[in-house]
């Protein structure tokens, strides 16, 4: 009691703030120390392994890296272009499919059924397999008018696969909007379609931005799958150089290029999925 009285209101606060700062500093010191121990330990463990000199020569060869990087980078542009086009198509197509899948009314029944079958089918087949089937199956039909360019075919396969995933992401968003919102939209005189367009979709899309971006990151990586039917994208080129030089460094170069895109994308995903982004 006497101690409290002797302490003016402000000094208790100062005391607490000082304690908080001390705790914070101690936390930082512990984090730094444990990082050094863990990461340093891992590095030492690898660097002192019996095979390390060989691995360094085969995977981290600076000379090979310098030589192969421009070619791999050139191939990577194909990845980026394919990614952007496929992503744009997927975003639009999947939205249309999701709206169809959640539409009401008996007239939409066949469309609902078709979209359900589509999603089940293309979500259930491994993407690699789809790239093979589309890439070799469609040209084998020898129908005129169908694309034969392996990049286009690979893009179609990726689009088919990812549209199925993204349809479900959108659908989850649409279903998460409470039905009272639809009621309110209808009550002000909107049609079902207008209610979807002006009231439900804007809320649904906001809620699924983080999972959508997550699928962006996955697609950006999976573009490498089109290499199995021929296109010379980054992974393919890296493989070719590796075959010629018997050195794996070009693959590391390709990996770094993928990371250069996926890591920033992942940070964006985190930011949008944060406490603020999630609700609005």
């Amino acid at each position: 009691m006497s101690e409290l009285a002797a302490n003016p209101a402000g000094s208790r606060r100062l005391e607490r703030e000082a304690a908080k700062r001390r705790r914070h500093r101690r936390g930082q010191a512990i984090a730094a120390l444990s990082s050094i121990v863990v990461i340093g330990g891992l590095i030492t463990w690898i660097l002192t392994s019996p095979g390390w000199p060989e691995v360094r020569e085969l995977f981290f060869n600076w000379g090979v890296f310098e030589e192969s990087f421009p070619e791999v980078l050139e191939g990577f542009w194909l990845d980026v272009k394919t990614f952007m086009i496929v992503e744009a198509v997927v975003l639009v197509a999947a939205l249309a499919l999701a709206v169809l899948r959640t539409s009401r009314g008996p007239a939409f029944f066949p469309l609902r059924l078709l979209t359900t079958v589509y999603v089940d089918l293309f979500r259930g087949i491994p993407t690699v397999l789809l790239v093979y089937l589309v890439g070799f199956g469609i040209p084998a039909l020898r129908l005129s008018g169908l694309p034969t360019d392996p990049v286009v075919l690979g893009g179609i396969a990726l689009g088919l696969s990812y549209s199925a995933y993204v349809t479900e992401v959108y659908r989850a968003g649409i279903r998460s909007v409470h039905r009272s919102q639809r009621d309110a939209a209808l009550a002000v005189g909107l049609t079902e379609a207008q209610a979807m367009r002006h009231v439900i979709l804007p809320q649904a899309i906001r809620r699924v931005i983080a999972p959508l971006l997550n699928d962006f990151v996955a697609l950006q990586k999976d573009v490498a799958l089109i290499s199995i039917i021929g296109p010379q994208e980054a992974f393919r080129i890296a493989q070719i150089i590796q075959g010629e030089t018997f050195n794996y460094t070009p693959l590391i170069a390709a990996a770094l290029l993928y990371l250069a895109v996926t890591v920033p994308l992942a940070r964006v995903v985190e930011r949008m999925g944060g406490p603020e982004g999630a609700v609005r």
């Binding site: 009272s180 919102q181 009621d183 309110a184 939209a185 209808l186 009550a187 002000v188 005189g189 909107l190 049609t191 207008q194 002006h198 009231v199 804007p202 809320q203 906001r206 609005r280």
Partner: protein, 254 residues
């Protein structure tokens, strides 16, 4: 409080029944609402008040009976519900404002998309409506940033914006903190003074007494008793009505 004398028949509910699965919620409702008249629906939770309002606004499909709006049957399957809803206004218990829109956008959405008003036209009227319900300066606010009372007044403005023939109010004060009830009731009172035709489902007996021309007591999907507020609320004829009012009195709500 009947400043304006009742006029022509606006709404007529005839023998309406509605069941959700096995549960019969409405078991033959007859009700008439004249122009400039306010009819209060009272009764316990689950007595069918909300369902009746939703059936009138065609948000629920009735099983039997008919509803007429201005002498025209609206519950016929051949009638487009959208056209009917554009002639009615419904205010929900939980406001149901559009959270991704500002107060003004909420109010003008129907004007613009359902009634084909231009943006400028709708906005001008929307601002005037918000001001009228004491929300001047709040046009750009999202519902999240407003109190329950403010949100419900926006919802009333939104329902009123479509120039409805009748307003259906579904327990518009039940979700509010007690100190916010007054401002919403004042808005409804104001509409009544102007002669708005209204069906008001409510738990506020004193408000029903003040504003309503007719009070209808719903019990288990039937209207057990109907008449002027003084009669139904002060000298009810039915035992169920007495019991219901007694329970409210005990809870301090009458």
């Amino acid at each position: 409080m009947s400043a304006i004398a009742p006029g022509d028949l606006v709404l007529e509910v005839r023998g309406v029944t509605k069941a959700f699965g096995e549960r019969e919620v409405l078991r033959g409702i007859d009700l008439t609402i004249h122009e400039h008249e306010a009819v209060a629906l009272i009764g316990a939770s689950g007595s069918g008040k909300s369902t009746l309002l939703r059936c009138i606004d065609l948000l629920e499909e009735i099983d039997d009976g008919d509803v007429f709006l201005d002498g025209e049957v609206i519950t016929d399957p051949a009638v487009a519900p959208v056209e009917v809803r554009r002639r009615l206004g419904l205010v929900f218990q939980a406001y149901n404002l559009f959270p991704h829109m500002t107060a003004l956008e909420n109010v003008i959405l129907g004007e613009r998309r359902a009634h084909g008003a231009s943006r400028a036209e709708a906005e001008e009227r929307g601002r005037a409506l918000l001001a009228r319900f004491g929300l001047a300066g709040r046009e750009g606010d999202r519902p999240d940033n407003l109190s329950g009372g403010q949100q419900q007044r926006i919802a009333i403005a939104r329902a009123f914006a479509g120039r409805p023939r009748a307003l259906l109010l579904d327990e518009v004060t039940s979700a509010l903190d007690p100190e916010l009830v007054g401002e919403v009731l004042a808005a409804v009172r104001d509409l009544k003074r102007e002669g708005m035709t209204m069906v008001i489902a409510t738990h506020e007996m004193s408000f029903a007494r003040e504003v309503a021309d007719q009070v209808a007591f719903l019990h288990e999907g039937r209207i057990l008793e109907q008449g002027p507020p003084t009669q139904v609320l002060e000298s009810p004829r039915q035992n169920e009505t007495r019991r219901f009012l007694g329970r409210l009195l005990e809870a301090g709500r009458a």
